[in-house]
């Protein structure tokens, strides 16, 4: 179990003032150096950062604004990758869709929505699941059995079915997709945090905090929570990838984001009918962007699990 990084840094500064130790080994530094051991994971992280930057700065780096109807020319529709537009002012590196929209710009904007929905819903689910899981572990008894029964019930239905049900009730929309994803995902966090917290709860430092008559809130949030974070971070990383994939699936089925705010899944759905007539690029490139995003997040998460798992410590 890694103690919180700042506490570790403080003790290390006091314990190792000797000039020989130029770089005191703090838990955070150790974590970074262990993470960097895998070139694959570092490469994946770099690609992910690049993807995230593309998504964040989409309006500035896109060759055109794909949702400004004034700049679209229907005559440029379904051009092959590398074609020039009608008045020869720009190149469509990844081709255009049926509206004459530059696919590259569309992908940047789509990534924005996919990442925002994926990261946002994973974060909300993280908060909800963490709060409920901690409550279940700390209070035990009836609270625990009610929350965990709910988790079991939730996990016994496949994610797609639960999401489908919620979207059938609520209808399309970004907010509704986020709600559906949160409902699907919170249980994973709750179960993970409860498992860790049950182990941590029995350790001496919690007992010491109790003996000091600290408030429940303080014990749970200042003592218990920081020590439950490592496995939660791993689950969180994987859940972002899952959320992005599920959002894309729902949007592909026409139940997710509205047509005015297309995510990668909706771009792929739009390109589907053209794929059968050989115009592969309209759905192929958004799909590649989706696939690369999901795979790099998984690679990072997979390596994080190895680094943060105390059982695998050498």
């Amino acid at each position: 179990m890694t103690p919180p990084a700042d506490a570790g840094a403080a003790t290390a500064d006091i314990a190792l003032p000797s000039p020989a130790a130029a770089k005191p080994e703090t838990p955070f530094r150790r974590f970074v150096s262990e993470f960097c051991e895998s070139h694959l994971a570092v490469g994946a992280l770099i690609i992910f950062v690049l993807i995230a930057l593309c998504a964040i700065f989409a309006p500035w780096i896109s060759p055109q604004n794909p949702y400004d109807l004034a700049v679209l020319d229907i005559m440029d529709g379904r051009l092959e990758p590398g074609s020039r537009n009608g008045d020869n002012t720009m190149t469509f590196w990844l081709g255009t869709d049926d509206q004459g929209r530059d696919m590259l710009s569309g992908i940047f904007y789509g990534l924005r929505i996919s990442l925002a929905v994926g990261v946002g819903s994973a974060f909300i689910a993280f908060l909800v699941g963490m709060a409920l899981g901690l409550m279940a572990a700390y209070f035990g008894g009836r609270t625990d059995s009610v929350i965990m029964r709910l988790v079991d019930l939730q996990l016994s239905f496949p994610a797609i079915l639960v999401a489908l049900m919620i979207l059938a009730f609520l209808g399309k929309g970004i907010l509704n997709v986020v709600i559906a994803l949160v409902v699907v995902e919170w249980a994973y966090y709750a179960r993970t945090v409860r498992g860790t917290a049950l182990v941590e709860r029995r350790k001496e430092y919690i007992e010491a905090a109790r003996c000091l008559a600290l408030s429940h809130n303080r014990i749970v949030f200042r003592h218990l929570l920081p020590n439950c974070l490592p496995p939660l971070i791993v689950v969180g990383t994987m859940q972002i990838a899952r959320a992005i994939a599920l959002e894309a699936t729902l949007s592909f089925l026409g139940l997710g984001v509205p047509i005015t705010e297309p995510s990668l899944g909706l771009l792929i759905a739009n390109g589907y009918e053209y794929m059968l007539s050989g115009k592969y690029w309209i759905c192929f490139y958004p799909g590649i962007a989706l696939m690369v995003t999901i795979v790099v997040i998984n690679l990072v998460g997979d390596h994080l699990r190895d680094v943060l798992n105390p059982r695998l410590k050498r």
């Binding site: 496949p158 079915l161 994939a245 089925l253 792929i268 989706l290």
Partner: protein
């Protein structure tokens, strides 16, 4: 055991009631079916008549009670769109989904077990590493995207297999099946493969870890020391012991496969239950949505119940724990 059985049954029926309430309220309380079903040009009298015919003028709780009373008689309402009983529509589409799901499970077993065995027996081999990397992709890539790629490669570029639809069917026991004709099988291969990718990855992982554990056991060492051929050791002694968890998990996945066929059916335009529910959600055909959700949740509750009962029958600890607590 009887007490446990009764309590578990009660719990399950409670969940059924809660789900039916949730589904019904969710589907009927949000949005307005009148808007969608009655043409805007209809005059007031026509509107009234249509609302009455659909039973939408009654209070919601009465609609629910009527729904439950009818549901108990096997009547889950009439589709707004097809004007046919929702249950009949769904059961008519069910064989297509079932045959796809079963084909996917069969593929998962006949592809997953050999690949997993290989990866488990030769963990350092580059082929094994490729298999394991592939299984990670099978877990993480969205099904619909893999399906599109399968269509693009095998149907559009190579033109080996048809892209969409169910193909010719032959009738057996009064139901049309695709797997009985060559054309139908050709249509079924890509969607079944697509649907089974997740399951193949799962079986590979289970088999591999099973092999890695079993191979260290004393009885395997003994079988080797006895001078049995490696084929016999792996094929009989190892395989028999890892098959139990693999088959259990694969069986349990049948429900999930049926739920996930929603995606595959939409990609490959396979006319099953999943395609029906997506189309119904898009046109807000509420009775069909409710009927589908009720049937699938019921299916899951029954599967979970059977699993729990099965475990408690096999493992006395589960039974005793539930009696004590």
């Amino acid at each position: 055991m009887t007490a446990y059985l009764i309590r578990r049954l009660l719990q399950a029926s409670l969940v059924v009631v809660a789900m039916s309430l949730l589904v019904f309220i969710g589907v009927y309380a949000i949005g307005d079916p009148v808007e969608i079903l009655i043409s805007p040009e209809a005059d007031q009298i026509e509107r009234e008549r249509a609302i009455q015919a659909l039973g939408l003028d009654k209070p919601l709780w009465l609609q629910y009670l009527i729904f439950v009373a009818n549901a108990l008689q096997g009547d889950l309402g009439k589709s707004f769109v097809y004007a046919e009983p929702a249950l009949k529509l769904i059961t008519a589409r069910m064989p297509a989904t079932l045959e796809l799901a079963i084909a996917a499970l069969v593929l998962a077993i006949i592809l997953g077990i050999p690949l997993g065995l290989f990866a488990g027996l030769k963990p350092e081999n580059p082929v094994s590493k490729t298999i394991m990397a592939g299984s990670i992709l099978g877990f993480s890539l969205p099904t619909f995207w893999v399906g599109l790629m399968l269509i693009m490669i095998f149907a559009v570029e190579l033109k080996w297999l048809p892209s969409t639809g169910r193909g010719e069917t032959a009738t057996l026991f009064g139901v049309a099946w695709s797997f009985l004709t060559w054309n139908g099988l050709r249509h079924m291969f890509l969607p079944a493969l697509n649907l089974s990718l997740f399951k193949i990855s799962l079986v590979i992982r289970l088999t591999r870890s099973g092999v890695r554990e079993t191979i260290l056991m004393d009885y395997v060492k003994f079988a080797r020391a006895k001078g049995l051929s490696p084929t016999r050791v792996v094929g009989v002694h190892v395989l028999k012991n890892i098959l139990i968890p693999v088959v259990t998990v694969t069986g349990l996945e049948l429900g999930g496969t049926i739920a996930f066929s929603v995606v595959t059916e939409s990609v490959f335009a396979w006319p099953g239950m999943g395609k029906l529910i997506i189309d119904s959600i898009n046109v807000l055909d509420r009775p069909v949505i409710v009927a589908y959700l009720m049937m699938v949740t019921l299916m899951f509750i029954i599967i979970n119940l059977l699993v729990d009962l099965g475990y408690s029958a096999l493992d006395p600890r589960v039974r005793l724990a539930s009696q004590g607590g």
